[in-house]
């Protein structure tokens, strides 16, 4: 893919989801989005109306997170939240799926939860956040299938508040599962243009990042050296490296760590970097 600065910018959801975010920060976020022509600003519901005013008549959309960051509220509440956000100006909705239900293999509940939000969101595009750090690969694939069946437009890796960020492994898995007709958004831990390129190579067509400006600005370094994109140590981009017993269920943590034992790159997993 012949990636330009402009094309990269159009793939970025310029994101600010911290609970302590002040209005001034939202204003800055929107101004930056207008300057760089990002795809959207991705924000919490409380800021949607203000951002919609600032971005009125522009090519930058408002993206609102729903049921964030746990996805553990009732479907009716998610639907209400989505409906209100769309009414206030949100054109894209990033909802967190019912993660526990997915792990319970309650597929109907997961699907209906998504369908309810899709139905409440009118013409807004729906992205379903899987929070991959709580799931096995089989569960990620199952979540993708359910999101597609429910009429969502994108599947998205992570909230950025969960146990893991986006990895090329997960993005590739999700892309292979949903095919070309659905979007895949990589989010969580994407801080540099190299992270972005890795995700795009793996199949992402949307990137969520609170470092959107840095991604674009630093991308200008790319013209000066090929060394930036030399292969990394395999562990760097592997989900197993991010696994954390303090943040994950024990069985999920062990699922990732046990993969290390049979990994073909095991010999390179020596240093703590």
């Amino acid at each position: 893919m012949d990636l330009t600065v402009e094309r990269l910018a159009k793939m970025i959801d310029h994101t600010e989801l911290k609970p302590e975010t002040k209005r001034e920060k939202i204003k800055q976020l929107c101004e930056e989005a207008l300057t760089y022509h990002f795809a959207t600003v991705c924000i919490n519901p409380v800021h949607v109306q203000y951002a919609a005013e600032l971005l009125k008549d522009s090519d930058v959309k408002v993206c609102c997170v729903i049921g964030f960051p746990f996805g553990a509220t009732m479907s009716s509440v998610k639907a209400f939240e989505a409906r209100e956000a769309v009414k206030l100006g949100a054109q894209e909705v990033d909802m967190v799926m019912n993660i526990g239900a997915l792990r319970d293999k309650n597929n109907d509940l997961v699907r209906s939860d998504i369908e309810t939000v899709v139905g409440a969101s009118g013409s807004a595009h729906i992205k379903v956040i899987l929070e991959t750090g709580f799931l096995t690969d089989d569960e990620k694939k199952q979540a993708c299938v359910l999101a597609k069946e429910a009429g969502a437009h994108f599947v998205k890796t992570s909230t950025g508040f969960g146990p893991m960020g986006a990895t090329p492994h997960d993005v590739k898995l999700m892309r292979e599962t949903v095919g070309a007709s659905m979007g895949v958004k990589a989010a969580g831990g994407i801080r540099t243009f190299k992270d972005a390129l890795r995700m795009i190579e793996a199949g992402a067509d949307r990137l969520g990042s609170s470092s959107g400006v840095a991604l674009i600005e630093d991308f200008r370094w790319a013209q000066y050296s090929d060394a930036w994109t030399q292969p990394d140590k395999p562990c760097w981009t592997c989900p197993s490296r991010q696994a954390n017993l303090a943040k994950q269920p024990k069985e999920i943590y062990l699922y990732y760590k046990q993969r290390c034992l049979t990994c073909p790159d095991r010999d390179q997993n020596i240093f703590n970097d």
Binding site: S225, A227, W236, D273
Partner: protein, 598 residues
Amino acid sequence: MSKPSSDQYSDAWILHVSLSDRTVRREPFPHSLFTNFLGGRGLGVKLLYDRLAARLDPLSPDNLLVFAVGPVTATAVPTSGRFAVITKSPLTGTIFDSNAGGSFGAHLRRAGYAAIMFEGRSSSPVYLWLNNDNAEIHDASNVWGTDTRLTTRRLLDETDSQAQVACIGPAGENRVKLAAIITDEHRAAGRGGVGAVMGSKNLKAVVVHGTGKAAVSNEQALNKAVERARRLIKKNAVTDKSLPVYGTAVLVSVINEHGMLPTYNFQEGTFNDAEGVSGEKLLERLYVRQYHCYGCPIGCGRISRVHGEEVGGPEYETIWALGPQCGINDLEWIAAANHRCNLLGIDTISMGSTIGCAMELAQKGKLSAPLRFGQTDGIFELIDDVAFGRGLGAELGEGSRATALRHGAPELAMQVKGLEIPAYDPRGVQGHALGYATSNRGGCHLRSYLIGPEIMGVPVIVDRDRTEGKPSLVILYQNLSASMDSLVLCRFTNFAWTVDDYADLLAGCTGLQIDGPGLLALGERIWNLERLFNLREGLSSRDDKLPPRFSTPLPEGGSRNRVVNLEEMLPKYYALRGWDKEGRPTKERLKRLGLAKV
């Protein structure tokens, strides 16, 4: 000769100061010098290359000492108050430039000068008083022998309280090869013994007061570039958070975690007491306030309180050199020792590294001296002895290379080309290691600061253990650093700005039609001219090497089992540079760089 209009940098003067006959004269700054070498480091290198005879004694009257600013100095460009000092180093025998912050550079530019070139030797101590376009050589006998703080304050009393002073302390007066030039009492053009060259000329200080305006060529373009540059600094986590909050000492924990904090003269890469000398601890225990150099929105400098006294620093490199390098974990002591070095006018990096070398010599029975890793007893006195050339201090004042050689263990000097290697063990960073080996001024971390991409992930993280791709990355950073040092801007802007930003700022200031690749080409020209200078001095590819210690794996820590694979990178580096296998620039490359006739 008419006064320069100063609405263009290239209309500024070069001030020639002959110290032997105490005369000054101004000459125009040739436009071709500006377009080919910019200013600062590049200008100084060109002046020295053209005027110095090969292999002269750096401490002889024939050596030149150049103070230079750049085309963006004293403009709205952030960090544009720095100045460069360029000379032939008595420590390394190479071309050498060292630059410092503060506000001295801004005043020099505002006085209408691009550079001051000192030649000869005064028969008695003097200082230069440059009050806008009036240059006078004054007697300095009343400040000769005094420390840099007292010198600064007395000279400001004598001249103008609004002026800026760059001076040497007793170390420079005594031609100690570790002597620095100090400005604003604690900012140092520290490395390479530039202070000794100043002392060898009996030049105690330069005092400058400039009230003019560094007008620019394209105000609108510059404003746009500056607005952008400031915004990027505010958006960058290093320049907006880490450096303002912790100062450069933020690196102590980061580098230690990577097992690259040289400990016990690079025998280990992890210091057990790193937390006690960290940026966090500095903030908790000694911090008084930030210090900003001229026009700097970052403010990495620290003012600390030590034993009831406010002192400058300490910086990361100093904390390491006087701390873990010598096994010392007492942060207050380190801050006090740093202050002592500043007063005496000594480069803290080379000082600490050389003391660490002496400690290992003593540890291994090569040197009979009461020096032990971790012991601070007697070190203050030893630093004083270095400055005044007494006893063991006189030996150490020659630097680690000479000290280790004298005691039959040259391999224990952690230096390249005679310059002590700073606070990053190269075994943990292949690209940075190549940068050390090929630096034109010796063991320097700033010529190609690959700690950015290899450790900090700026602009992106690259595998620090890989050798593939590193030669090209080192060359990119070396060429950029040569340009930045010729604009004379702070290295830390590089965390936030790309090559293009520097080009835009230069274009806005001067009207020079230049883009990022063009700026790098200028840097490449300067780098190659420095190489030619060093080759003329008798250096060769044999000097592009690292101490043998770095071929032995670190025993533990985050960089354990690693060695530097220099032999994998150096031939590729030479080839990419357009140099032959002996590290000599080819005629074709010199022609391409416009250096065929030098």
